[in-house]
């Protein structure tokens, strides 16, 4: 349970936590010390350099980090979870099943497709109005619209499934 896989900018890195203050990073030993300033702010010292990192917890396995004007999103899983995810990915590909969720609360301005319509990956499918702006929501995969769960004009919360593609 002390082995992890981090995915960042499409690259994977492996970690193993040793005693406190030490870990293996891609098989290399790294010494660190960490201070939690608050839930959102950490000081991580590696060698003679202290990094002041701001973090936002994005979801269970996903963190956003702001450091020196650079922003990273990292997905972190235990080795076991990573394996399970890989299997899940293969299964998802086979089922060819996907969905569009609302990325933020807002109002559904327009739904450009009906159930049964063909849909191309990257195509704009739903327009969501939030903060006075119209936001295009794109199809994450190609296929056929399977189900639509919302109507034009309805308000939605964040992370609500709007439609599914099969």
């Amino acid at each position: 349970m002390n082995e992890y896989v981090a995915t960042l900018n499409g690259k994977k890195k492996t970690f193993k936590i040793l005693d406190s203050g030490k870990l293996l990073y891609n098989e290399k030993e790294v010494e660190y010390s960490l201070l939690k300033v608050s839930e959102y702010s950490y000081l991580l010292k590696i060698g003679n350099k202290v990094y002041d990192i701001t973090t936002t917890d994005l979801s269970q396995d996903k963190f956003g980090f702001l450091v020196d004007g650079h922003y990273f999103e990292t997905v972190i899983r235990t080795k076991l979870q990573e394996k399970a995810q890989e299997l899940q990915n293969i299964k998802n590909k086979e089922n060819h099943h996907d969905l569009i969720k609302s990325p933020m609360p807002g109002m559904i301005l327009k739904i450009k497709k009906q159930v049964g319509d063909k849909i191309e990956m990257g195509e704009s499918v739903v327009i969501l109005e939030a903060m006075k702006m119209e936001n295009d929501l794109h199809a994450p995969s190609s296929g056929v619209v399977k189900e639509i769960f919302v109507k034009e004009g309805s308000s939605v919360e964040k992370d609500v499934v709007l439609l599914t593609i099969s």
């Binding site: 890195k13 870990l23 939690k36 950490y42 004007g69 990273f72 903060m131």
Partner: protein, 498 residues
Amino acid sequence: MIKKILIVNRGEIAVRIIKACRELSITSAALYSEADKDSLHVRLADEAYFIGASPSSESYLNVPKIIALAKQINASAIHPGYGFLSENADFIQAVEEAGIIFIGPRSESVRLMGDKTSARKLMSTSNVPIVPGTTSPIASVEEGKKTALEIGYPILLKASAGGGGKGMRKVISESEFESSLSAAQNEARKAFGNPAVYIEKFIENPKHIEVQIIADHHGNYAHLFERDCSIQRRHQKVIEEAPSTFVDEELRKKLTTAAINAARACGYYNAGTIEFLVDKHKNFYFLEMNTRLQVEHPVTELITGLDLVKEQISIAEGKPLSFRQEDISIHGHAIECRVYAEDVDNNFVPSTGRIKLHRRPDGIGIRVDTGIDPFSNVSMFYDPLLTKVIAWGRTRQEAIERMKRALGEYKIAGVLTNIAACHWVLKQEQFTDGSFDINFVEEIFMPLIPDKWKAEQAQDYEDVVSILAVLLKSKMCEPLPSENKVQKTNKWTGQMYE
């Protein structure tokens, strides 16, 4: 004399105006909607009044309520900021008729410049070059096609009542004309309640350069040089600077002269901005006039040393300009980055939430105009602009280096922002050598979304954030030890520095 100003706005610009009021010993009165009750402008104002529910139409755009409130609290003047009611001629007229001073131009000037075709007509007869095209709305498809041929494709269809890119269509050839026209008219009708559309020549790869002007009630006009606002996405500016690297003394003279001609033509007073498109041969064309204070006014303040909001208030009191044109010169270089609450990699969707952590940049040459603080709520109801970071340097390069340093210092949690994207733009060759145009974001940056633009980032940052992610996931990090209580004994005694 103005004793109390009602600020009909929110966010960073309300805060900016409150600061000017405080320095002038004028009472600042803020108003706020339901969603904004914990906002920074509410905390900072001398007085704060609840105005209505969260949607703008029930709060910051509710003209009858706002006028009634201004009367009830004995406000001597109203400052509209930018956006919301700032360019609404009917609102300004209502303020004038209520006997309250409007800190801005007269309603007639706003009305003249607000309708794009009437403004184009006025400019073409006032020695201000306009983009070749029509000065009245298209009456029929046939007439429109004929005009488009005369001007030469590609052309742009634009809404007469428009702004912000709504009702705008680029047409490359005649075969697309009819369908584009009806699409533009539909959009214009929906967005502005007016389907009128006119034709302009499409200018290839221009820069967006604008001139700040200021005028008093006594017929004195002055300009405060230009700003380059070419880094924009969907007509929303992101990075602005003054002066422009592209403008030489000869062009500056032509631009500023045209800007003052434009202001005189509509009998303008107070602060205003004339926007131009400038092509690569340094031909320039009137785009529109913004009859209000601009978001990007701080870059002009930093290179001229003026306080534009104070100047606006003094003009509204009937005083003459506090300076003469010849007293003002360009001092150094200033750049502004607009920090928006948005998820850049996810199609720039606005990011909402409560601000959990907020540490602003500081140090030499840095100014921060912000509307947020910890526990502010960033809601879906309003513009996602959080903060403007403005850097000044003796040279452009120094200003860029300072801005990169400042963006690196900015710590914010609770919402996602475009800080890293701004940081990236500042490092690109097209930005540092000044060759960028208004298509930079769409042509250079957007194709690199979501991951490619971050690929060139420093390897050691990738390593440390991955390590931190592992430690967070494994719950290896300990909270602050509770021994860190505030010390009340003066343990520094005897260790004072001379």
